[in-house]
Symmetry: C2
Subunit: 260 residues, 2 copies
Amino acid sequence: MLSDVMEDYLKAIYVLQTEDGPPVSTSSIAERVGKTPPTVTSMLETLEEHGLVEREKYKGTELTAEGRTVALEVLRHHRLLEAYLAEHLDYSWSEVHDEADALEHHISEEFERRVAAVLGDPAVDPHGDPIPGEDLEPPVDDDVRPLTEVAVGDRAVIARVSDRDDEELEYLDRAGITPGTAIEVLDIAPFGMVTVEVNPEADGGDTDTDTDAGDVDGTATDSDAGREQSLPEAIAASVRVRPVDGATDTVATDAGVGGA
Amino acid sequence: MLSDVMEDYLKAIYVLQTEDGPPVSTSSIAERVGKTPPTVTSMLETLEEHGLVEREKYKGTELTAEGRTVALEVLRHHRLLEAYLAEHLDYSWSEVHDEADALEHHISEEFERRVAAVLGDPAVDPHGDPIPGEDLEPPVDDDVRPLTEVAVGDRAVIARVSDRDDEELEYLDRAGITPGTAIEVLDIAPFGMVTVEVNPEADGGDTDTDTDAGDVDGTATDSDAGREQSLPEAIAASVRVRPVDGATDTVATDAGVGGA
DNA sequence: TGAGAGAATTAGACGAGTCTAACGGAAGTA
DNA sequence: TACTTCCGTTAGACTCGTCTAATTCTCTCA
């Protein structure tokens, strides 16, 4: 009923608005969906006519309640598919994104239900992104921040990684940086290079949180204990972590809810 | 690269040309894809420009080798998906068609390979339709004929049922007429009503053939032995059977390879 | 052989989604 | 306040896939 294209725009707006707060700019949408700004303007008019977004000309756009519901439905499809592909078709978590993008608009509600059922209604996908529930309420997600905003010496658990850049994902995978992994920040150098210890001796807190990703492909295990990894700023900024109890509360900017 | 729409036309032409032989008429394609004849004409021009069909104006259309390969690829996707949905997501064989139709254009080659692998490279889908191999050579399928063309008293095994009409499929499902089931034709009445015995005492031949569907949902089992079922002509004509050794060779018209 | 029926094609329009080029508004800076 | 720059919107065109209405072709049958 709504076209795939419309759904893609709504999904993009939802993610942008979760990351940076509403309203979102035409150009940021354009960049995310890979279209030109005039194209986006014209699509936003269409979406507005359908009651899915509200716009203030030259200012920005935000989703209506209805638009958000549609976006969450698509996101639920996407993330359930990612989880399913990783769990049942032997995909690694760095491979699932494109396949899920292609399928998310075309699965039925029945398919969604059955996939959710065989997965046991998972709370997060393999990248650590929260999967919206069947009620399509926006998932809340406190206390998650970019790795770049953790203080040196603090411990944290990887909450999620971006799902949009294959190379970056491969890099993180090799480094053992996967959702659910415990880390300690050893150093933050000039220009933002972050050095972490992967799986420091387990005394700093609980490695498994309530929204654990389930160690989908088994790449990083306790045998990685104590490895040191240095991450360029660009990559560290896209890694979200959940501080372990007792960690210093640092910079309190927007905590962000990246990924798609 | 080719659009979904083009793939749908090619698939339709393939099936029609398998059923009735080339060339296929514009109006039969129109009926199958649910579009008007002028729309079909214009799409056929496009497909011809792409080297996927050959046409003789006012006469008919047939696939080129390249067009056939594309059609077989789509058909392989469709039927693998049907098999997968039935086997791993608990769909009944009467439910899988629409879901497979929606997904067949959007799965990657990687997905195709993985699905085929976990299924163990099945030869047929849950409706009994042959699944083209990875080589995309046209599956050959001798000795299969409509149920209406079996002589009274002969035994046969259900080879396949149409996958396109939900009501009809439910009817057959309830009647225990599923791919792999043995039957004996008891009577063919005026107006084509066919009466069969489902699972006659097993001495007439092998119930499992080389291309067995694998009894996907377990609906019809040997406990149905001896049930009599009468099928209206319209339904019986869409059920394809493979005669059991020793059966009379009857009408030798086109044997057909229905389904999608 | 010619008329009529039925099928296919041509003609022309339209909506969706996209683009480039040109214009206009918003916001900071001199 | 006026300039400048960046961003967003408007204008206008294009492609794709579709439709309806009108035309043309093919084939059969008298």
